[in-house]
Symmetry: C2
């Protein structure tokens, strides 16, 4: 029985899993869900993903939710190419990088995107600007680090790259929304303002199968 | 050369690492830092922990920061007792539980504690109350789950327990602060309001060596 994968178009978390599947060349049954209670809050889906979120997977009797837990499961399912490190030192660098993504840039990107996509920006301008500045600081750190190496945690592609990448185009999309010039700062042209980050994005985008993972509704 | 451990009293992140060291019975050289720029922003410490935060460790030529990355490194350093799972299914449950802690209860506890400890509560009452409600929802989920098993992710102690535990007494301490009755809700008596969570806390507190990990300045 093929691995069942549940995802939603535009979710950076789901995108991580789709990218991991391409990198590891794991075959799967694709289940694209809509962001509706009908899809996400059905009894059937809640049995797989108790919070009714994407992504989630089912592999026989095993169900896994939370994108990073799923990527770690894929490493057990098909170890090659190794994404979580070959030895203790490399593993610690990769996990440290994953934790820094989760603890620093990701919360600011969520704050920023939430004010742009879901709230009345005029009420929340200060929150958006504060989040944007925190994101710019983190992009500067990443850019400095990526000047000296091809990937975030080592010279090879790792889970850290797969975990960070999808939030960058998600962020660009928020920053490009109309009437947000005032709060978008350097985020409207990440490739130009953070050259090493832009070059790293291009490396991820050249992964065979990448185009299959791109959010379909963003192409429309 | 002994493992060097850098920590600060009262940091729930540092506490995780101290707990992990006791559980695995790893000897270490303890370096307690104060929360001052003199300790945290010295060139020497920034070489170990580039953001100037605790915890961090140095093991020969390897340095690791970020509490969960450190715990994962300890698993390589001394595999027994296994904290990150014995097989793919158990590993996925443990990582899923860790990610749920990071993504749901921890951010709300940080929002709550920040308004109590560092800000003018009168300005931030609505933020504190919203965070408190989110924490109560997560404690209810945890309580239900802990009615059926002794530990978060399996019947055995895992990294998920060590990662969650320190934020609970940290939360209680915030909720007990004077003049915060109005925003503390059920959080002033977690043991009484969430019986299974309280019983689970007692299990963690009975780990041999636990008392050595308790924040020293909380005893004063």
């Amino acid at each position: 029985m093929a691995l069942e994968v549940y995802w939603g178009s535009g979710s950076p978390y789901a995108w991580r899993v789709l990218l991991g599947l391409e990198v590891k060349k794991i075959e799967y049954e694709s289940n694209r869900l809509s962001f509706t209670d009908e899809d996400l809050k059905s009894d059937e889906y809640l049995a797989i993903s108790p919070r009714g979120k994407v992504p989630a997977i089912r592999d026989g009797s095993v169900t896994v939710h939370e994108s990073i837990a799923i990527l770690r499961y894929l490493e057990d399912l098909k170890p090659e190419p190794i994404l979580f490190g070959n030895d203790p030192s490399e593993r610690s660098k990769i996990w440290c990088s994953i934790m820094e993504i989760m603890n620093y840039i990701e919360p600011s990107i969520l704050d920023y995107a939430r004010t742009i996509f879901y709230e009345e920006l005029s009420d929340k301008k200060q929150i958006a600007i504060r989040a944007r500045k925190a994101i710019e600081d983190e992009l500067t750190i990443l850019n400095t680090s990526l000047k000296n190496k091809n990937y975030l945690a080592s010279d090879n592609l790792s889970a850290a790259d797969i975990i960070l990448y999808p939030v960058i185009p998600f962020l660009s999309r928020a920053a490009m929304k109309e009437n947000t010039e005032e709060v978008s700062g350097k985020l409207r042209a990440i490739d130009d303002n953070y050259l090493a980050v832009g070059a790293w994005c291009k490396r991820i985008e050249s992964i065979p199968g990448f185009e299959k993972t791109y959010p379909p509704h963003w192409k429309e």
